[in-house]
């Protein structure tokens, strides 16, 4: 029966990889249930699906990180028995995982060549050759950095590029990229696409997972759609429409989606109130060199800038995480902001860009994760008021439609997008005056993204002020009332909505650099 | 054959103590410090914290500092032989104090001058002798509280006692467990053994600290130490003598820690060229209810 559906696509070559009837259960939770995937040599194949659809799990089964509960995997027609990532690599499958899987404490070189180090005559590692090779590989991505330094000292973007460089350098038959572009800027994405095209030309297949549908149309040949642990369909990309893909992904009618629109954010409509927060010429050891901006009530202020321009640093400084070496951050009531606790007490929330490292407490339940920041307020005689806690948590699970087996499920078992919603709930539960959102929709599927954005919009209408950092121009341009553009840790200009266009923003950000000519949008 | 010692006003004397974790060792070290004043010593005292290897290293560092004479209570019979050999090679006469080294390898008069001290096996035997002579019942059910597992006083005190008590078939040792020479461990072990062997009526402890712990355990369990359970021990500490006076304990065989004065005397004789016997034996007394009160003031 399943085979029938595939007949329509036309199966004229032997597949490089064939996965059939894959099932996977985690401690009773079904993550995959009859998932299928076929990849042909030299094609770029995309997988799309909502958060928690099972994309990452499917890949991890292919690469031996997880063991499947059911199903078959074949490579070039022969059964493939892989139980460790190493075996996958040896079989010609190189992977860039969604959660960066590199070793930040070790040097860039080690992260690239580990396991395949060049040797001297005596069988010892030849570091000179290794560094040279690493530089050369990275150069293909336009990255020129000191490869002997710890990987962890570079930005997420650089780390992402290193991961890609490593995978590409492994002479693989299949390169898997699980949301590889989520922290790259447009120029870097261009480079990546060029590399993917080269790979394709040499007969290497690429499996590409992304929430950005535009990217699919630019580089992918076929697309597999997953929903609730199942493979829904596989199409040639050229034969699909975005709307069609989305409706299959969400399992909803195309017309219904069309009616709802694309972004839920819209800036420049409300009439902002008084100034709540004012950062003047702030400087820090982390790279701020004089950034200024203000935030008023009921306003969304965007922080724009290229990667490394200091947006995250500005947010951290405001939140009291990094000490200032100059300048001031003032609240309307003049209270000092020197620790996160003080900031929270003053009604500021901060949704971080690094969910895994700075956001979730993996072993704690959804409930405990949601109420983490508001514990002092739930305190009654030193204890947590469980009654109130439960009500509150249930409210946010419902309101944000968090997909969880229950409020007691450990958060680590949730998919990335749902974890993000939990974190958002953590801050919303505080009913903050100011919310700093650093890449609030990174790695979040279209449906969830839409939901998150509408929640934010609604809160703003109710009086919330938002400092929004996003690498998605569309999100910034449509969402922010004003955009403060940062460059090298300084604020260089400010754009006002309505009227901001993407090209204006790009122009302002680039300033001296070349303006990237692509735009990113999920739909 | 041992290195000679020239006669001087002041000597640089090394004393390499093995550990300081019990009152006996502390009293011994103090005795050497006190003697240093009266005997014109510049004393270097080290502490090996219970490690034989460190004790050898301590001796090494004393040799490096150029001591004239070495007093060494060897923690273990065999491991301290290198220390004795090294001192001899460096021309330093060595006196072993309170424990000796393996006589098959290092000999008095040849590798070291003499051993000053008593005999642990003998101490165990004398404890057994007293018990055999003074036990009044028909059947002696004995619990033995051993010292630190593997340490030479524990091994020797066990051997001396066990061999001697085996000659009298009124006695049976029903349990023998380590109490680590400590009061708290002695008490806990006794509490447990008392549960498993309620018929016990004799306790032999390898030192007084464990004996006191055993007395506490007996009392907590509602037994009457001294009346329905006879306690036999070794050391002669103040607490033990008090227990004897109070009628809770039968006997403790003395094992005196006050070696300082003897060390001074023997060393001066050696420097004067007198012949020193290979074993300068210390006469250990036996404290019972007859003499405990007379000696309690000199106990430590």
């Amino acid at each position: 029966m399943n085979a029938l559906r595939f007949l329509t696509i036309g199966n004229d070559m032997t597949d490089l990889i064939e996965m059939e009837g894959i099932g996977k259960t985690f401690a009773g939770i079904v993550a995959l249930n009859d998932a299928r995937l076929s990849i042909r040599p030299g094609e770029v194949h995309a997988i799309i699906g909502q958060n928690g659809a099972g994309k990452s799990t499917l890949i991890k089964i292919l690469t031996g990180v997880y063991r499947r509960s059911a199903g078959d995997v074949r490579m070039n027609g022969a059964p493939l028995a892989i139980s460790t990532p190493r075996e996958a690599q040896d079989a010609g499958i190189a992977t860039i995982y969604q959660e960066l899987s590199l070793v930040p404490l070790r040097s860039v070189t080690e992260n690239v060549v580990m396991g395949y180090e060049p040797r001297t005559r005596f069988g010892l590692i030849d570091w000179t050759a290794a560094h040279a090779r690493t530089r050369e590989i990275l150069a293909r991505f336009g990255v020129d950095i000191d490869v002997t330094r710890q990987l962890g000292s570079y930005s997420t973007a650089v780390q992402q590029l290193v991961a890609i460089a490593r995978a590409v350098s492994l002479d693989a038959k299949l390169v898997i990229m699980d949301e590889a572009t989520s922290s790259l800027d447009d120029q870097e994405i261009e480079t990546l696409f060029a590399v993917i095209n080269t790979l394709k030309a040499t007969g290497v297949a690429v499996l590409y997972i992304s929430h950005f549908l535009d990217e699919l149309y630019r580089i992918c040949d076929r697309v597999t759609i997953m929903r609730d642990g199942q493979t829904v369909n596989t199409h040639r990309v050229a034969e699909t429409t975005k709307l069609g893909l989305v409706s299959e992904m969400l399992g909803r009618d195309a017309s219904e989606i069309q009616a709802a629109g694309l972004t839920a954010l819209s800036g420049g409509h409300g009439e902002p109130g008084e100034v709540l927060l004012e950062a003047t010429e702030i400087r820090s050891k982390t790279g701020l060199r004089g950034a200024s901006f203000t935030l008023r009530r009921r306003e969304i202020v965007g922080l724009g800038g290229l990667l490394g321009s200091g947006r995250t640093e500005a947010a951290r400084a405001v939140f009291g995480l990094d000490p200032l070496t100059g300048g001031t951050v003032r609240l309307s009531n003049g209270a000092p902001l020197d620790t996160p606790a003080a900031a929270i007490a003053m009604g500021i929330g901060f949704l971080t860009e690094d969910r895994k490292a700075d956001g979730i407490i993996p072993d704690m339940s959804v409930r405990e994760n949601i109420t983490l920041a508001m514990l002092p307020r739930l305190k009654r005689l030193g204890a947590v008021d469980r009654e109130r806690e439960r009500k509150l948590v249930q409210h946010y699970i419902d309101a944000l439609q968090i997909k969880t087996a229950g409020m007691e499920q450990p958060i680590r078992e949730l998919s990335g997008g749902n974890q993000q919603k939990v974190l958002l709930a953590r801050w919303l539960a505080l009913e903050p005056e100011i919310l700093i959102l650093d890449e609030p929709t990174r790695g979040v599927d279209v449906g969830a993204k839409f939901e998150i954005q509408s929640i934010i919009r609604k809160q703003v209408a109710d009086g919330l002020s938002v400092l929004l950092i996003s690498s998605e121009f569309e999100e910034l341009v449509e969402g922010a009332d004003r955009i403060v553009v940062l460059q090298d840790g300084r604020s260089v200009t400010e754009l006002h909505n309505p009227g901001v266009t993407e090209s204006a923003l790009i122009g302002a950000m680039a300033h001296h650099a070349d303006a990237p000519d692509t735009k990113r949008s999920p739909l | 054959e041992t290195p000679p010692l020239e006669q001087k006003d002041r000597y640089k004397v090394g004393f390499a103590q093995m550990e300081s974790n019990n009152p006996w060792r502390i009293a011994e070290t103090k005795s050497f410090h006190d003697t240093a004043k009266t005997c014109n010593w510049d004393l270097i005292a080290t502490d090996a914290a219970g490690s034989a290897a460190k004790q050898v290293a301590d001796v090494d560092s004393m040799i490096a500092q150029g001591i004239d004479v070495l007093f060494l209570p060897p923690r273990e019979e065999k491991p301290l032989i290198p220390a004795v050999m090294k001192a001899k090679a460096a021309g330093i006469p060595t006196f072993l104090v309170d424990r000796s080294v393996d006589p098959n390898v290092a000999k008095p008069g040849e590798h070291f001058v003499a051993f000053l001290g008593s005999d642990f096996i003998d101490q165990g035997e004398r404890a057994a002798d007293w018990l055999i002579a003074n036990f009044e019942g028909d059947k002696g059910v004995i619990v033995e509280l051993e010292g630190t597992t593997g340490s030479s006083p524990a091994n020797d005190r066990k051997k001396g006692f066990d061999d001697q008590i085996a000659t009298d078939d009124r006695f049976e040792i029903v349990a023998s467990q380590t109490g680590d020479f400590a009061r708290d461990m002695g008490r806990q072990v006794m509490e447990t053994l008392l549960q498993a062997h309620p018929e016990v009526n004799v306790v032999y402890a390898h030192n007084d600290e464990m004996a006191i712990g055993a007395i506490q355990a007996l009392e907590l369990a509602g037994r009457k130490p001294g009346e329905d359970v006879t306690i036999v021990s070794i050391d002669g500490t103040r607490d033990a003598l008090q227990a004897i006076i109070d009628g809770k304990m039968g006997v403790t065989v003395e094992s005196s820690p006050f070696f300082g004065p003897l060390a001074c005397e023997v060393m001066q004789k050696y420097a004067a060229g007198e012949e020193i016997p290979g074993w300068v034996q210390v006469k250990d007394r036996v404290f019972t209810v007859d003499n405990a009160a007379d000696h309690i003031d000199e106990a430590y």
């Binding site: 992260n111 396991g115 590692i125 982390t286 | 273990e76 290198p82």
Partner: protein, 331 residues
């Protein structure tokens, strides 16, 4: 991430890395000793100091590997005691049998640790705590709770008591060879780098396709072997197989490794700095003994403990000031 960035830059500029502090402290302590005490720098003291500390250096280096993977090996002291007994029993057959025999015994116990940690997935702290108890019990059982005499007639005692090339005891040369070999293993072989990567992030290393389990098995066996060698030194240089030795050795080895700037969470560290750490901690004992000899203050044993703790405190403070170690996991 940005805070790691600034910290790392500082470290990078210094060039000395995490281990900067230990070298400074080592030099300071040696200069202090040389200036204050006669004969401190004499051949006899240097030779006997190194001979005694050879045991701790090999153990610390083995421990360094284990800690680099983010684990710990509490069994080293007991294992050394155990293998010293084995070596003593084998000593009549000469060093050519006793040395490999005892090291093999150490490797075997290391293998048990590896089995517990890798196959049974028991946390290293607990697994090696159990082996520590087990090895101690085993040493007492096979020795009948006695120290075991070595054969003074065979060439076994040469190792710890005779000088090679008329210079220093053999044990020191062997230690130097082991240290250099392990330094090369860590810096220049793929198993060594895998060890570092595993400590830096076990899951990530696994996903990179590195042989995580192989690296872990390797470090526990290696540490067991190092402890085995230390046991040989103990028997040969200190006259007997000693089932009661080795108490607290694991903690001083850990301290040496950490004083050498290795992160206990794994991933960063070096063999050289570990050796420096072990020497530094050993020097404290040596200096205390010399201080006693000056007779100005005769330090009681308790004060010595207090001073050692205080010294460790000082070095740790120095270390944390010079190379502010990032706390916790890094993003």
């Amino acid at each position: 991430m940005s805070d790691t960035f600034s910290i790392d830059l500082r470290r990078y500029l210094r060039g000395g890395g995490h281990s900067f502090g230990v070298w400074v402290a080592l030099v300071v302590v040696i200069v202090f000793g040389l200036m204050r005490y006669e004969n401190f720098g004499g051949a006899y003291n240097i030779s006997s100091f190194l001979n005694y500390n050879a045991m701790f250096i090999v153990i610390a280096v083995g421990m360094c590997f284990v800690i680099l993977t983010g684990g710990v090996d509490l069994s080293v002291g007991s294992v050394a005691a155990f293998t010293s007994v084995v070596a003593a029993y084998l000593s009549p057959f000469g060093i050519q049998v006793a040395l490999p025999g005892a090291v093999l015994a150490g490797l075997a116990i290391g293998g048990i640790n590896a089995l517990f940690v890798v196959a049974l997935r028991i946390p290293p702290f607990i697994a090696t705590l159990a082996t520590m108890l087990g090895a101690k019990g085993g040493a007492l059982v096979i020795s009948g709770a006695q120290t075991i005499a070595i054969d003074w007639g065979s060439n076994f005692t040469k190792l710890g008591m005779e000088k090679a090339f008329d210079l220093l005891p053999w044990s020191i040369f062997i230690t130097a060879a082991v240290v250099i070999a392990l330094w090369i293993v860590l810096e220049r072989t793929s198993i060594g780098r895998t060890v570092l990567a595993v400590g830096g992030g076990e899951d990530a290393a696994g996903m990179m396709g590195l042989h995580v389990n192989r690296a872990k098995v390797f470090v526990y066996i290696l540490s067991g072997g190092c402890a085995g060698l230390a046991g040989v030194f103990l028997a040969s240089g200190f006259g007997a197989g000693q089932p009661l030795e080795g108490i607290g050795w694991e903690l001083s080895a850990i301290a040496s490794v950490v004083v050498g700037g290795t992160l206990l969470t794994g991933g960063v560290g070096s063999v050289g700095a570990t050796v420096a750490g072990a020497l530094l901690l050993g020097l404290v004992f040596n200096i205390l003994n010399f201080e006693n000899g000056r007779g100005v203050i005769s330090l009681s044993a308790y004060w010595q403990m207090v001073i050692r703790g205080g010294f460790l405190f000082a070095v740790i403070l120095l270390q944390s000031q010079l190379s502010r170690q990032p706390k916790g996991p890094q993003g």
